[in-house]
């Protein structure tokens, strides 16, 4: 069993696109790379190119226009060839920008790494220092540094590098703090590694992508800034020229010979633009979240693209009737089904459990019912969900919204992330009411308080103005339930409502749900991975595995005599109080054949 799992991963790793081909897939980034390569190659080859000496002055030949004889881009006020100066100037600008980036990245990352890993006093001292540097407006500090060191290209380089150190230090520290508290760092310590070894061999490899991303997004910036200092006359000193000082010198001739200042500006723009395009591409490749397409905006309703025309809804006594539901996820060009042909029905006032292990598709099934699966990448690819005898997916967006929170309400797993952190809990409950009923603010608030009392929150009048973070996990889940009750729904879909809670709290929340259901005659669809929870509250249960329902039936019946081998194994694997050490002996034969 373990072997089988291990070998399937081979195909996954080969199927993953290499970083390079991913980068080249990005058309803009490729364009940036090409432009940058051309500019870089020309700048690098400057000494061997058949161009005049950039510093040879010839006053008689001054201010020649573009495309004049022998001077493709004309000449400047001292008769120097602009093309030649442009090439040599780019060489200087690129060299300065890249060196400043390297210095800033090296020093900044080192500060960030040490500060984020050591924490405590070291962190405090280093970060207060960084704060000090950041307390100056960016360019102002560069100016002050140049003022001390005196004008000059090298000094401008130092100034730009110093000014950018905080940027790296902060970014790297942020990531390092997160990594340093990760368990693999503790594990490395227990394996005998020293702090320095952990920092450079365990933490650094994980920070490196961030450093590269930060470098690729700042190098263009630094070229701009050095050009700026040179433009002000504080960078490159004559006769040496970088793009900024060419622009600065040309500025005086803006009205008589605009090409002298426009051309170097265009060059800076082309250079920085190509670097930024490439930098964005690099970031997209290296940032794993973007790679997985996680940062796409989900639509308000999951996309529906059914393979077959939906069958007409048959009349039944069920208030929720799911037939042949298939929900898929788009992975690149492929569409992979996560829920395959799931059918079940929920009768009025009934409690049904949907149970399965992680990845079984139970949550996706629950979210699909009202089109709440994040889309992209989710797509409903087949089946119907009938509520009140009408297919949900045939409804308009507005039609689906009218069901959400009114006829059918959801209770989600982790109330800390599912409640809005910036709104008071009372407002969030009131909002659920006003989304479907036309009532005034005062009345909505009064009803929110009443709902909070019904879900067992003491001092509801005071707690109504609390923010979610001011409540305990159990209380927050009660708020989640109050929100679901706001419009007296017929169906509540509870997706692992107690998984994030302690057992004693779980027991109370389950009691609450059960009592409310009986009082109000609601139907409850309970998604869980815990057979104990199912046994406690559900009338019927369906077992899911790999996106399919493998077995369904009355809870007591199914638990006592499971028919499907998977269900049998699953139930056998649940340890129960009172079994004691006998448990291990009863499960041992189940896995006997799996051993090598």
């Amino acid at each position: 069993m373990t072997q089988a799992l291990a070998t399937t991963s081979t195909s996954v790793s080969t199927a993953r696109l290499s970083s390079w081909s991913l980068l080249l897939n990005n058309r803009l980034a490729t364009a940036g790379l090409i432009i940058l390569t051309v500019i870089g190659a020309i700048a690098l080859l400057a000494p061997w190119l058949p161009i005049p000496n950039p510093n040879t002055t010839l006053p008689a030949n001054r201010l020649q226009p573009i495309l004049s004889d022998g001077h493709l881009l004309g000449t400047d006020h001292l008769g120097r060839d602009i093309l030649s100066r442009l090439i040599w100037g780019s060489r200087v600008s690129i060299a300065v920008g890249v060196s400043a980036t390297l210095i800033a990245a090296l020093v900044g990352s080192l500060i960030g790494l040490v500060s984020g890993y050591a924490r405590g006093t070291t962190d405090n001292v280093l970060m207060r220092g960084i704060d000090m540097i950041m307390a100056f407006p960016y360019i102002l500090l560069a100016l002050a540094i140049v003022a001390v060191l005196g004008p000059g290209l090298l000094n401008a380089l130092y100034a730009i590098a110093i000014v950018n150190i905080p940027f790296f230090a902060r970014n790297v520290r942020g990531i390092t703090v997160g990594l340093a508290s990760r368990e693999f760092v503790d594990a490395a310590r227990l394996s005998g590694k020293t702090h320095a070894a952990i920092l450079f061999t365990e933490v650094l490899p994980n920070v490196l992508p961030v450093i590269v991303i930060t470098m690729s997004t700042t190098v263009g910036w630094m070229i701009l800034e050095t050009a700026g200092l040179s433009f002000l006359g504080l960078g490159a000193q004559p006769p040496q020229a970088d793009l900024g000082s060419m622009l600065g010198e040309g500025r005086r001739l803006l009205f008589t010979a605009p090409h002298v200042s426009i051309i170097p500006g265009l060059m800076i723009f082309a250079l920085v633009m190509s670097i930024n395009l490439l930098g964005d591409g690099v970031r997209d490749v290296l940032d794993p979240r973007l790679r997985a397409g996680d940062l796409t905006r989900p639509l308000s309703v999951t996309r529906v693209k059914r393979k077959t025309a939906p069958a007409p809804v048959e009349a039944s006594d069920a208030i929720l009737d799911v037939r042949g539901l298939e929900t898929s996820f788009q992975r690149g060009r492929a569409t992979v089904p996560a829920v395959k042909g799931v059918s079940f029905a929920l009768r009025k006032g009934e409690c049904m459990g949907l149970i399965g292990e992680s990845g079984s598709g139970k949550s996706v099934t629950a979210l699909s019912l009202l089109g709440l699966v994040a889309s992209p990448p989710g797509v409903i690819t087949d089946g119907t969900v009938a509520i009140e005898g009408e297919d949900v997916f045939s409804r308009s967006e507005t039609g689906i919204r009218a069901l959400r929170g009114a006829k059918v309400a959801y209770v989600f797993q982790d109330p800390l992330t599912t409640l809005h952190p910036l709104y008071r809990v009372g407002e969030q409950i009131a909002e659920a009411i006003t989304a479907h009923q036309r009532i005034g603010k005062g009345e909505a608030r009064a009803r929110a308080i009443a709902l909070m009392e019904q879900v067992g929150i003491r001092d509801a009048k005071d707690r109504v103005d609390a923010y979610p973070h001011e409540m305990s996990g159990g209380q927050r889940q009660r708020i989640g339930i109050a929100m679901a009750l706001a419009n007296d729904p017929d169906i509540i879909i509870a997706d692992e409502p107690t998984t994030a809670l302690d057992v004693t709290v779980q027991a109370k929340i389950l009691d609450l749900l059960q009592n409310l259901r009986k009082e109000r005659g609601m139907a409850l669809l309970l998604i869980t991975h815990d057979f104990g929870v199912v046994a406690q509250v559900c009338d019927r249960v369906a077992v899911m595995k790999d996106g399919e329902i493998v077995e369904a039936g009355e809870t007591a019946e199914l638990l006592r005599a499971p028919q499907h081998p998977y269900t049998q194994k699953l139930i056998a694997c649940v340890p129960e109080l009172g079994q004691g050490k006998a448990f291990l002996e009863t499960v041992r034969p189940l896995f006997a054949e799996g051993k090598p």
Binding site: M132, L295, L372, R404, P421, L422, A432
Partner: protein
């Protein structure tokens, strides 16, 4: 909230003290004697010694610092020997011009940056998004000082619709419309880069927030999409947008250095560039300290604004 503001103010004090030390230290480290710069060709040894004594430059460096700070606390920023007037008068006059310019561009870039970012996140991968993304890239890749020159060429030289330089017309100007006409080009130039940065981060923040569980909760309640986006997602995104605006405030104040030089705007940035080249150290000291302190206060404001928005930050 009051407690939080006090705490944050208390935190700003050591930062400002630190700033003053850095500013003083940097200026003290500048090679070349101040007295020589002041006296120029009159620099006989006796004269130098006299000037040093008058300015307190013969004292140990830490005493000089305390004298300097003490004077500043009494409103005495020293005297510029090059401009032959008190530093405070000069920097206040210059600073108000910079505040007008920087304030106008900050307003411009905040409005357009946030708008563009939100629209482009909501219409992700659509045409609006592509156009915004493209212009944002152009914005952050263009040297502002060059863009200023282009604008002068186009709007002042070719089209002759806007003035090329200065803050007021030389003859017959001085009223508000005149100021605004002069303000347009430099403020827009200065705002363009910052708009790009804000738009980019707003877009990213919105996309991040739209993925959060609480946005799904808002949808599960049956809220219409406008409310989901503007009430739930945007408010949460604003928490990470506000500090970016704070950083951009520093950026436009610093960037004013170029823009003021290009458009000959009589602000503190142009003053600093001149003062550095004439080695008017006392003027540079005062100017840098004033701008940096303002920036610290702006950061304080953004922190407070952020805490007003996000109750979790108040503690």
């Amino acid at each position: 909230m009051g407690g939080y503001i006090l705490k944050r103010l208390a935190y700003a004090v050591p930062v400002i003290i630190g700033l003053s030390i850095i500013v003083f230290g940097i200026m003290a480290a500048i090679p070349g004697s101040t007295a020589l710069a002041i006296l120029g060709s009159f620099a006989t040894p006796e004269n130098v010694e006299r000037v040093n004594r008058e300015l307190g430059l013969d004292l140990p460096i830490w005493q000089q610092y305390f004298v300097w700070v003490g004077n500043i606390l009494q409103g005495d920023f020293g005297h510029s020997y090059i401009l032959r007037r008190p530093v405070l008068d000069e920097i206040l006059e210059r600073f108000s011009a910079t505040l007008i310019l920087a304030g106008a561009s900050l307003i411009l870039c905040s409005i357009f940056g946030i708008l563009a970012g939100v629209v482009s996140a909501v219409r992700q991968f659509g045409w609006t998004d592509r156009i915004v993304t493209f212009f944002v890239l152009i914005g952050i890749s263009t040297p502002a000082f060059w863009l200023g020159l282009l604008f002068i060429l186009i709007f002042a030289v070719q089209l002759r619709v806007l003035p090329a330089s200065g803050m007021y017309a030389v003859y017959g100007g001085g009223d508000l419309p005149d100021l605004l006409r002069h303000l347009i080009l430099p403020a827009v130039t200065l705002a363009i880069v910052a708009t790009g940065v804000i738009a980019r981060l707003t877009r990213a923040a919105m996309l991040e927030v739209l993925r959060q569980d609480y946005v799904r909760t808002a949808r599960a309640k049956g809220l219409d999409e406008r409310k989901v986006i503007y009430r739930h997602a945007f408010k949460a995104a604003l928490v990470s947008i506000i500090p970016v605006i704070g950083i951009q405030a520093g950026f436009v104040m610093g960037g004013a250095v170029y823009i003021e030089t290009v458009f000959q705007w009589p602000g503190i940035g142009a003053m600093l560039v001149n003062a550095i080249s004439t080695r008017d150290i006392i003027l540079v000291q005062g100017g840098v300290l004033l701008v940096a302190t303002t920036y610290v206060l702006i950061n304080l404001l953004t922190d407070v604004a952020q805490a007003l928005l996000d109750p979790r930050l108040k503690t």
